[in-house]
Symmetry: C2
Subunit: 330 residues, 2 copies
C-alpha cells in the first residue's frame, strides 16, 4: 500500500488545487485508464475547446455533484445522521425525559432497530432536537467541533477524510477547465457548507441542499437568525432540479450522482441540448469501501442503474475504475 | 449635457468591465467628490489592503445590493409590475372573461385606482396569471422579449438602461477589489436573472429574490420544470437576511439599499464584527429622477432614514452625490 503515501497526493488540500502542469499530464491519476476515464476526459476536452463544435462558454459550464455516496462515504449510515445521534447523546444530560421518550430512548440505548421503526417521524424529532433552536453560526460551530473529532468505526478516520480521491481530482479537473462546481445534496445545506470549501474547494454559495426554516429576529438589539424545527425544502429526487433552478438558475451540463435520489437531476441535466454528461458512481467494492445498489436502504441505486444505458449515463465501477478510494491517511 | 456622451462611458457594458487602469485613476467617476464617495473608497481600500488591520479575505468580501430603487428605477411603479400589466393586456384576447373580472378589468381599462384597491389579493391574481403556468425557460423568453421593447414613458428609454450609472461603477469597483456582488431583491428572482448578467455583470446564481413554487414533472418523456401560482419565498424585510443566509450562506460585509424593505439586510450586515458598510440611496432628485422617502408607497424610506446616523449607514444624496443618474442614451 505504499502507493497511498505518494508525497504528491499527501494532502487533500493539495489535490483540490492540483497545479495546471500536473493536470495536463494526467488530470485524473486515481482513475484507471479505460472507457470511463476516457469518456470524462473526452467530454471535458470538447466543451472547453473553442474549435470542437461542442464548445460551451465558461458561464454555462455548470457541474452539479450529489454529496453522500458520490463525494464521500454514506455507509453504514449518512454522516449527518451519525452527527445527529452523537448530538442526542451529548444533549441527553439536559433532557432527562429522553430516557423514557422515543425515539431518543432508542438512540441512547443504541437500539437501531427501534430507531429505524420510528420512521420519518422519529427522524424529524431527532433533527428538530439537534439541528434547530440555534443560529446558523452556532450550528456551524457545533458541526465543526463534531467533524474535528468524530471517527468512522470501520476506517478509523474522520469523516472529512473519507471523501473519494478520484472525485476530488474530478472536481479540480473540471474547475481547471472553467467549470463552476456545485454540490446538490439531499443532506442539510448548512451541514454540508461546514466542510465544502475546505474539503472540496466548493464555497458556501455553491452548495444546494435540504433546509429547515430560518427566522430573523432582533434579540436585545442584536439582529439574529434562528433555525426552526420545520422543514423548508427537501433537495432530493424531484427536489434536485427544483433546487438547482432556484439556487443556480441554470441547467447544468454535467451531473454526478450515485443513487435513485439523483435520477431527476441526471435526467434533467442530460435532457438539455448540446453536450451533456451524466455519471453514476456504482459502489462495487466491498473490500475497499462497500458494495450496494438495488436493495440498499441507504443510497439505493435501482432505476437509475437500469436506465443508465438508455440515458447515456456513465456508470463508474468503483472497484475497477478507481485506483484509490480515499486520500492517503495523514 | 455633452458630458453624457463622453466616449469612455458610452456603453453600459464597457462600464461593467472598467479596466484596472481607469479604476486606479478614479473608480467612481460619476460620484461627486465628497464625504460619501470618500467613505466608500476608504472602506473598500482598507478591507482589500493586507496591511490595514481591517483586511478581509477575498472569500468573505460579500456585498449585497437591493435592485428596485437601488440599482434601477422603481418609480412610478416597479418595473416588474409594469411587465405584469402589459402581460395582462397581451394575454387578454385569450381570456375574454377578464373584461368583467377584477382586477383584470381594472388593468385593461387602465383604472389604477381600482387596481390599487384590489390590494395584495389582486396583485397575487395578476402574478398568477402572468408569471406561472410555464417553464422558467419560457418565462425568461417572455421577460426578455418584453424588456427588449418596453419603454418608460417619462424617460422614453428601455428599463434596462434606466439603471444608476454610479451604482454600475460601484459594482465594478467592488468586483475589481475582490468582492463578490449579489443582488438581494424583493422582486422575482427569475425576473431579475433575465438581465442581471448583461446589465450588472451579476450571474444568475448571484441573484437572490422572491420566488413562486416550481414543480418538476416529466411530460411526454421530457423532464420539465413548471412555475406554479403559489408563493414560495418573499425576499423582503425580514426575508432578506433569511434569503442571504439560505442562498449565499455567509453574512455580507457590505449592503446597499434604498428603502425600509432593506432595513433588516443593512442591520444584519452591519451588526457583524469587523469592518462593515451599510449604504442607502436617498432619492432626492425630482429633476433628474424622483424625490421620495417617508411618504412614498413605492420604496418607502422612513425608519431606515431615521436610524441611519445611529447605525452608521451612509446616506447617498442622489442630487448632490451623483454627477450622472443614468448611463448616456445610446
Amino acid at each position: 500500500m505504499t502507493k497511498l503515501f505518494r508525497p504528491a497526493i499527501a494532502l487533500v488540500a493539495l489535490l483540490v488545487i492540483v497545479p495546471a502542469s500536473a493536470q495536463d499530464a494526467d488530470p485524473l491519476p486515481s482513475w484507471n485508464d479505460g472507457p470511463t476515464k476516457q469518456a470524462i476526459i473526452d467530454f471535458v476536452t470538447k466543451v472547453a475547446e473553442p474549435e470542437s463544435g461542442d464548445y460551451v462558454p465558461i458561464k454555462d459550464r455548470i457541474a452539479t455533484f450529489d454529496n453522500d455516496g458520490t463525494l464521500w462515504l454514506e455507509q453504514p449510515m449518512y454522516t449527518q445522521l451519525a452527527f445527529a445521534l452523537d448530538r442526542v447523546k451529548e444533549l441527553a444530560p439536559e433532557h432527562p425525559e429522553w430516557k423514557d421518550t422515543q425515539p431518543f430512548k432508542a438512540v441512547l440505548e443504541g437500539d437501531m432497530k427501534t430507531l429505524a421503526a420510528s420512521g420519518e417521524k422519529g427522524i424529524v424529532k431527532i433533527l428538530a432536537a439537534t439541528h434547530a433552536g440555534m443560529s446558523p453560526a452556532e450550528f456551524q460551530t457545533i458541526v465543526g467541533d463534531w467533524l474535528a473529532t468524530a471517527k468512522d468505526e470501520r476506517f478509523e478516520r474522520g469523516y472529512t477524510s473519507l471523501v473519494y480521491q478520484p472525485m476530488l481530482e474530478l472536481l479540480a479537473y473540471l474547475r481547471h477547465k472553467g467549470f463552476t462546481t456545485y454540490i446538490v445534496s439531499g443532506g442539510g445545506i448548512e451541514f454540508v457548507r461546514n466542510f465544502s470549501e475546505g474539503v472540496y474547494g466548493i464555497p458556501p454559495a455553491q452548495v444546494v441542499g435540504s433546509s429547515i426554516e430560518t427566522k430573523y429576529e432582533v434579540i436585545d438589539g442584536e439582529p439574529t437568525l434562528i433555525r426552526l424545527p420545520e422543514v423548508h425544502f427537501i433537495d432530493d429526487k424531484d427536489g434536485k432540479p427544483v433546487g438547482i433552478n432556484e439556487y443556480i438558475g441554470q441547467r447544468p451540463i454535467a451531473a454526478f450522482g450515485n443513487s435513485d435520489g439523483d435520477y431527476q437531476m441526471l435526467d434533467w441535466t442530460t435532457a438539455g441540448e448540446g453536450p451533456r454528461l451524466g455519471l453514476i458512481v456504482h459502489h462495487t467494492d466491498a473490500e475497499r469501501e462497500y458494495a450496494y445498489d438495488r436493495d440498499s436502504s441507504i443510497g439505493r441505486l435501482d432505476k437509475a442503474l437500469t436506465d443508465a444505458p438508455d440515458k447515456g449515463w456513465i456508470v463508474v465501477d468503483m472497484k475497477n475504475d478507481w485506483k484509490e478510494i480515499f486520500p492517503p491517511k495523514q
